[in-house]
């Protein structure tokens, strides 16, 4: 939809999935390039470890590639891929026995866009602190926040991602935001 609004012909995810199912590797490669960033952020949100998140995303795409024929298109490929990644991340954590780990080990390199260096430093510090606080929230809350803010997912899509109702997704997001605001004060 968004693609068609831009006027220029950009092949849709659905078309790429169809082509990939027919054996076109380049089509799947394009899907990887379009959606690996979202998948990575989901994995990072759950695992809180960059190295684990990278492994998770890799495994998630391998599984998605093998299961592509079973993708029914009920949701967008992006949402499906993020859900596959979330499941893979949880499975990985279970295997590693890290479910209850509470330490904050990872905040990715900061993306700073403020033009003024002094301001940039302040924004960077605040952002790093906010991300660190985000990592202390329960998984569903931080995943809901990350999916809503970083990826722009709707609450319906977030519900699919965290395995809950749309209402629960909304509650997780707003509870998380409220808690973050308290922590940041």
């Amino acid at each position: 939809m968004r693609d068609s609004l831009r006027g220029a012909r950009k092949i849709s995810d659905a078309e790429l999935v169809e082509q990939a199912c027919s054996g076109d590797d380049r089509a799947f490669g394009t899907l990887v390039r379009r959606h690996h960033a979202s998948a990575y952020r989901v994995a990072l949100s759950i695992t809180r470890r960059d190295d684990i998140a990278q492994d998770v995303v890799q495994d998630a795409f391998i599984k998605a590639f093998r299961a592509l024929g079973g993708f029914r298109g009920d949701s967008s490929f992006r949402t499906w891929m993020m859900t596959v990644t979330a499941n893979e991340a949880r499975a990985t954590l279970r295997k590693r026995g890290r479910w209850n780990e509470s330490s904050i080990e990872v905040v990715g390199p900061l993306e700073t866009s403020a033009p003024d260096p002094a301001e940039q430093a302040v924004v960077g510090q605040e952002s790093a602190r906010a991300r660190a606080m985000l990592d202390t929230l329960p998984e569903k809350q931080r995943l809901a926040i990350s999916a809503r803010i970083d990826e722009g997912l709707s609450f319906r899509e977030i519900a699919s991602l965290i395995g809950s109702s749309e209402g629960a997704a909304r509650v997780n997001y707003f509870h998380g935001i409220r808690r973050l605001r308290e922590l940041m004060e």
């Binding site: 605040e126 970083d150 605001r181």
Partner: protein, 155 residues
């Protein structure tokens, strides 16, 4: 009234912060933000979080592509492996249909595969099982295997 407005505005704040919102709604939100400190504060938090959005490793996409395509099933990667597996399964199947278990055992046990374990038969998704051990064989061994199979078939 302001509470209702706040709820609607907060729903949209992430989209507003990232510019994923229509112009007319954007104006409405901006207008609300001017008079609502609470929503302003929430928007600031969202902007702070956005500024620290994790940066994706530069080479991750390449790594994923490499992993995906190198992990594909062997029959996709190697037409030779596929044809060998197909020929082997066909030949063994023919052997079975002729009720000649001794032929099957000769072939199977030479390469450490037990047909009783179902390693040589079609799987549910119609792909050939047993391909993995064939994939690991050298061309020389495969040729020898095929010669044996052809020999058995000619008898």
């Amino acid at each position: 009234m302001n509470e209702i407005d706040c709820a609607k505005v907060r729903d949209c704040l992430p989209d507003f912060a990232s510019g994923r919102i229509e112009n007319h709604r954007s104006v409405t939100i901006e207008s609300h933000l001017l008079s609502c400190e609470d929503c302003q504060s929430e928007l600031e938090l969202i902007q702070i979080l956005r500024a620290a959005s994790p940066v994706v490793p530069v080479l991750l996409a390449d790594q994923i592509e490499n992993a995906v395509f190198s992990s594909r099933r062997p029959w996709n990667r190697s037409p030779w492996g596929l044809s060998a597996a197909a020929l082997l399964a066909l030949a063994v199947g023919v052997g079975l249909s002729r009720d000649r278990p001794e032929v099957i055992q000769d072939v199977v046990y030479d390469f450490g595969v037990d047909p009783e374990q179902g390693e040589l038969w079609l799987t549910e998704d119609s792909f050939l099982a047993g391909d993995l051990w064939i994939e690991g064989l050298s061309n020389e061994t495969l040729m020898k295997l095929l010669e044996e199979l052809e020999g058995e078939g000619a008898e």
